[in-house]
């Protein structure tokens, strides 16, 4: 199979696809930016964070990790803005706001 530089979906022609549109590069789904699905984003008041990690456990995208201060924060490349973290946070750290704000 021909070695090629990864092209975006919009750049690929039918000739660039592997047989059966099979994906031969393991793990390349991590390049898929789900963050642009978002219409709301989380904002944080980290003074309230007790570092319980409930938001990380509930996040369906698996994109919440502790930042340098140990507070839990979503990776915005993947965060779809579902708001589950805000709903589950027991101390009210997270507030969802419209993406445009």
């Amino acid at each position: 199979m021909p070695k090629r530089k990864p092209k975006s979906d919009a750049e690929m022609t039918w000739r660039d696809l592997e047989i059966g549109a099979i994906v031969t590069e393991p793990g390349n789904a991590s390049r898929y930016k789900t963050g642009d699905w978002r219409s709301q984003r989380p904002t944080y008041d980290f003074k309230k964070c007790i570092k319980c990690a409930l938001c990380q456990i509930f996040c369906p995208e698996g994109c919440i990790f502790p930042n340098d201060d140990g507070n839990f924060e979503a990776d915005m490349y993947y965060c779809k803005g579902c708001g589950i973290c805000a709903r589950e946070c027991p101390t009210g750290v997270i507030t969802m706001v419209e993406e445009e704000e």
């Binding site: 690929m12 022609t13 039918w14 592997e18 549109a21 994906v23 393991p26």
Partner: protein, 391 residues
């Protein structure tokens, strides 16, 4: 020269699959396919065939198991009929779209209701657009021959598509015929080991059947279409090589006494042999009639069909399936579409006959030809006729 034996066609088919050294058979029994998979199960259980036989719980599962097997690079076979083919419908698209070389025999059967276990092409027509290569057979020898060809075509790395071998339920599946089996050494040479290029393997992981947003889906489908159309070249090469080694010649469109005939009959499947006898009879009576038979149903042999009917004044197409509320028999619709752009084309008359296992005899074909000629003389009809239905 290999032995010629009297054998039931379904059993012969199973023996041919065994000779093709299949690795995996996943199947669910359904009339009139049952004897095919029963025989294969027996061969595996007796230790005569070194293969995995997966007795699944439905046809949907049968085809799904075949996907996994073919994706792992195993030579994979299944068989079904009628309702069973309908139940595996959605998975058929996955097999062709993921380019998995599964081979399936379909003992063509009518669809419910009323319940009918007998033969017609309703099941085929419902899976016409699933992206499989589809080959029709007319007798037991052709069924056996096409098993070897089907694996070779499917697994060819230029093709990598699933192949259906169609044999009419009962009319072909359950008859005992004299069949010549090729010598094993010749089969082994004709049919090299399956080398699927991107098999599922932990050392080199791949993702099959992943998700495609609108930005890439049309490209994926066009690649599939280009590939299916291009497969005809490999099919022709395979059949030529098969003829060189085994002496039986196959073509996408086959003619019988059709050269320069003013009136042509067009058929597909086992009743083509009855039609040949009818042609002999009518020729004997001085009628200028010939026969054209479709062997390759997908990819549709446009050029070969146009060539085969060029010069005819009337073309009478006999379908073995109904297209409810549609333009007539499905084969006839496609034949009409294939000829529409031709400057000179025959008048085309559509008949639907022999559905649900109703026998179509030599005399019936003669009546169809006579009726067709009368309809053609009156003009070019848009309607079709359901032959032999009691008023």
């Amino acid at each position: 020269m290999a032995d010629r034996v009297g054998i039931e066609v379904s059993v012969a088919l199973g023996d041919a699959v065994s000779q093709a050294n299949v690795d995996v058979v996943a199947a669910y029994p359904i009339t009139p396919q049952t004897h095919i998979v029963e025989h294969l199960a027996e061969l595996v259980a007796n230790g005569e065939l070194d293969a995995a036989y997966i007795p699944v719980e439905s046809e949907h599962s049968a085809m799904s198991a075949c996907l996994g097997s073919a994706a792992a690079g195993a030579r994979t076979f299944t068989a079904t009929a009628g309702q069973g083919l309908e139940l595996m419908h959605e998975v058929l698209y996955v097999a062709s779209s993921m380019r998995l070389p599964v081979v399936m025999a379909v003992a063509n059967r009518a669809l419910s209701s009323p319940l009918s276990v007998w033969g017609d092409h309703s099941d085929v027509m419902a899976v016409r657009d699933t992206g499989w290569i589809q080959i029709f057979t007319e007798n037991g020898q052709e069924v056996v021959d096409q098993v070897f060809c089907a694996f070779r075509i499917a697994e060819d790395n230029k093709v990598l598509l699933p192949v259906m071998i169609h044999l009419d339920g009962f009319h072909l599946s359950h008859v005992i015929e004299p069949i010549t089996f090729p010598e094993q050494s010749k089969v082994d040479k004709f049919l090299p080991t399956n080398k699927y290029p991107l098999p599922l393997h932990p050392d080199k992981p791949v993702t099959m059947g992943d998700f495609a947003p609108p930005a890439i889906y049309p490209e994926a489908k066009w690649a599939q279409e280009v590939n299916l159309r291009a497969s005809k070249e490999t099919i022709l090469k395979c059949w030529q090589e098969f003829a060189n080694i085994f002496g039986h010649k196959y073509q996408p469109v086959e003619s019988y006494k059709a050269e320069k005939a003013k009136t042509l009959l067009l058929t597909m499947g086992s009743f083509s042999e009855t039609a040949m006898t009818a042609i002999d009879k009518m020729r004997g009576e001085g009628k200028d009639v010939g026969l054209v038979r479709l062997r390759l149903w997908r990819p549709f042999p446009f050029d070969e069909l146009r060539q085969a009917v060029a010069g005819a004044e009337t073309l009478i197409v006999v379908d073995r399936a109904l297209s409810f509320g549609g333009p007539g028999g499905p084969v006839c619709s496609e034949v009409k579409a294939a000829l529409y752009g031709e400057a000179k084309k025959p008048k085309i008359v559509s008949f639907v006959a022999g559905i649900g296992g109703r026998d179509i005899s030599v005399d019936d074909f003669e009546s169809i030809v006579n009726k067709g000629m009368t309809i053609s003389e009156k003009g070019s009809p848009n309607e079709y006729e359901m032959f032999g239905v009691r008023e």
